[in-house]
């Protein structure tokens, strides 16, 4: 903002005031266009014309600021008047509401007052400020170039090529240690190996989620659906990997009439009397699949609406998932409890790069 004379031409929006010409590209600039008529005469507000109105506006604004004061004091009082009583939801609500209303008034009063003051009492005429080109003036730019040249000459930055390039090389490599430093964000296992195993193994009982009560085959009626975990999982605490194991091991168990199941030859003995167990972890991006439509035997994932057909090995019939839900081979033990024959035969959950390795 060095020069403050108005160099702006008052006419068209495109007339250039600087001698420098800047290309206007394919813009159409016609000599025949209208002239900017210039600022119209200001209109006067009631508060400019009538002192009584002005005093009234002032009183109104004073009241708004007082309203704010009252609101803020009310908020402080509300903090004590409406405390939270343990176990009482209503007290929480009242505390939230009253405190909030007090603060709201405290803020609104100031805000409305200030805006009102600006609109009805402050000098209301529009003012004009000239704009200048954003780029520095020619003199400033020339001086900037000169400074760079001088710095270059004094340091030999472009002259001493090897020295400069060595510096650049060093600067590029210097942050790289940070990359290896992040390796220990996680322990040293092969992560994709972990994704291939769950808690299920031969003989693990199928148990209710979350109680861990084992399930007898005779308790599973046709048409029912059970949310299942490995029996041993219920004994784990959060500190011993409960959530991590559960995130892989949860299973849905349904009973259909045996003739409704279209089972592949090699999986005929994975079910027990129409009872089938499938991983509950969606093969899309891993939400728990849990909406079961009894009539159609379809499972629906609530996250992105993938649908799986239980009668056909949970193949995908709709939605963004690409693979069927993995099946858990099951049978019953000597006491009639449902047990796993083995772990899943493939990784559960979302696909990953090394999945088929």
């Amino acid at each position: 903002m060095a020069e403050h004379h108005d160099s702006a031409a008052d006419g068209s929006a495109v007339e250039l005031s600087e001698p420098r010409t800047v290309t206007s590209g394919t813009a159409v600039i016609s000599a025949d266009r209208f002239e900017n008529p210039g600022l119209p005469v200001d209109h006067q507000r009631v508060t400019d014309l009538d002192p009584a109105q002005e005093r009234k506006a002032e009183r109104r604004i004073i009241w708004l600021f007082w309203l704010s004061l009252i609101g803020s004091v009310f908020a402080i009082a509300a903090y004590f008047i409406w405390p939270i009583e343990p176990g009482n939801m209503t007290s929480t609500r009242m505390n939230n509401l009253m405190l909030g209303i007090g603060i709201t008034l405290g803020l609104f009063g100031i805000g409305l007052g200030a805006v009102n003051w600006a609109k009805s009492l402050m000098h209301g005429h529009e003012e004009v400020e000239p704009r200048h080109d954003t780029r520095g003036t020619e003199a400033t730019r020339a001086r900037a170039v000169e400074i760079f040249q001088q710095a270059n000459a004094e340091s030999g930055f472009t002259r001493r090529r090897l020295l400069r390039n060595s510096l650049i090389g060093a600067l590029v490599v210097a942050p790289l240690p940070a990359v290896v430093l992040f390796r220990d964000l996680a322990p040293a296992d092969e992560p994709h190996e972990l994704l291939r195993h769950t808690m299920w193994e031969k003989g693990t009982r199928l148990a209710l989620d979350p109680s861990g009560a084992p399930i007898k085959a005779s308790d599973v009626t046709v048409g029912s659906v059970f949310h299942v975990i490995p029996e041993s999982l219920a004994k784990l605490g959060h500190g011993d990997g409960y959530l991590e194991e559960k995130a892989k091991a949860v299973v849905l168990m349904m009973r259909l009439r045996p003739e409704e199941l279209n089972e592949a030859e090699d999986r005929k003995d994975w079910s027990y009397d129409g009872i089938v167990a499938y991983s509950k972890i969606c093969t899309h991006v891993g939400c728990p699949v849990a909406l079961y439509e009894q009539q159609t035997h379809h499972l629906l994932c609530p996250c992105h609406q993938s649908e799986f057909d239980v009668a056909n090995h949970c193949e995908v019939i709709f939605g963004p998932a690409a693979r069927p839900l993995p099946q858990l081979p099951i049978t019953v033990d000597a006491e009639g409890y449902l047990v796993a024959q083995s772990d899943f035969h493939e990784p559960v959950g979302p696909s990953f790069w090394e999945r088929e390795r």
């Binding site: 159409v28 176990g87 803020l107 609104f108 004009v128 390796r183 979302p350 696909s351």
Partner: protein, 537 residues
Amino acid sequence: MSTATTDTVTKPGPGMRFTSAAANYIDERTSASGFVRELGRKIFPDHWSFMLGEVALYSFVAILLSGTFLTFFFDPSMTATHYQGSYVPLKGVEMSVAYASTLDISFDIRGGLLMRQVHHWAALLFVASIGLHMLRVFFTGAFRKPREINWVIGFVLFILAMAEGFTGYSLPDDLLSGNGLRIIDGMVKGMPVIGVWISYLLFGGEFPGHDIVPRLYVLHIMLLPAILIALIGVHMLLLIVNKHTQFAAPGRTNQNVVGSPILPVFAAKAGGFFFIVFGAIVLIASVFTINPIWNYGPYDPSPVSAGTQPDWYIGFADGALRLVPPHWEFVFLGYTWSMNILIPILVIMVFLVLVTFYPFIEAWITGDKREHHMAERPRNAPTRTAIGAAGVTFYGVMWAGASSDLMATHFMLTIEGVIVALQISLILGPIAAYIITKRVCLALQKKDREIALHGFETGRIVRLPGGEYIEVHEPLNEYDRWRLVAHETYRPLMIRPNERGRITVGQRVRAGLSRWFFEDRIEPVTRSELERAHHHE
């Protein structure tokens, strides 16, 4: 123009003496008077749409204040604990300390719930106002030279705001936040080559692990806010350097700014508006519950709650995932390629990149190197406005995708039907929006020309002596006319050989784009056209 504002001379009272002594003290140590001279009477033009950016700024302040309060009580640890607080239904339940401390903020700290809700509502408003602000800038062409850099910064702010929102949403470690993380985990695992490793490093082992919440916490309250604040600072600095755009009006030119000075009018309006925005956020927070984490329970990989929605600004990404048709995955060279995840991510990336670089693309097409300080009316740039409408539609369809299940249950449709309809709309919708918007813009421009030439229709019919009926038109005064004729148009680019007599591919592409942009154009009324029109009457 700048008339003096002091009409009464006030005798210096004790308050005034203190103020001037303090001002003197500060200036002698900081030369702050220079700032006041440069900025104190800086002019800000007024238009309602210019407030959108202000709303974003003010809700960010509300976020900072409420967020800082929350940090005093929130404990981002995933260590297991048995809840002993005041919320009876969860007493004794095993959960993470993070979830327990969020319950404590909600039920054992007076005003804690209010601050949580202020924080969350302000976050929603923050992202929404940035989005609307961006749309305003886009549709008025305010991103043109010299403001391209500020467009890019603003867009980065939008992305960072979403990142802040997502990391914040994940902190309480409730059922929904954990489920959101699970989806992220699944998407990360789908990335080629590095997916499993990235997930593993991110979660510090297998999902969910014990590290993700504290890690996100550092991002949420330190790294991301620091970047946000720095970028907002640069954004404001460039705003001061570039000054505000203004809509065409009498007396407003490309070489001036017309409006109110910072001191006192703009400061009072903007400062007051800050309190109004903050007050509105507190009001909403005290009346409407948001994210009642106590209803969801602690994170557990097994339960689900159908019909729950992510925060609105994540919706478009969620919807993009939903719109993928089945079976988009294959095994190639022994590795699994999860196209059902890669394609939507890629589509979103391309979309974001196009938005980021739009100002440069348009500048290249027009070849216009001048500075532009006049905000354009959307109708006067029909192709840009149509592109914007197509982009908004594309985003809107993805966003609608996130509510496909709700739409199906509400309108008694099948979920498959809704998804297929949205898949079709994702492709046809933007095309339709483009065509319709362009036609509407051109029609509005024609209408503007009519009015500029012949004035407003008054609805008054008179019978001429010759017996014919005409409608009386009220001619425009020159001030009203100026708003209709102030803009300029561009011609399509002619392909010309360069110095070496060749026509480059770049030239051809540019000419093609230029034709697409400017082939249909309606030029503003000129003086001689108006004269001719008057002669005819």
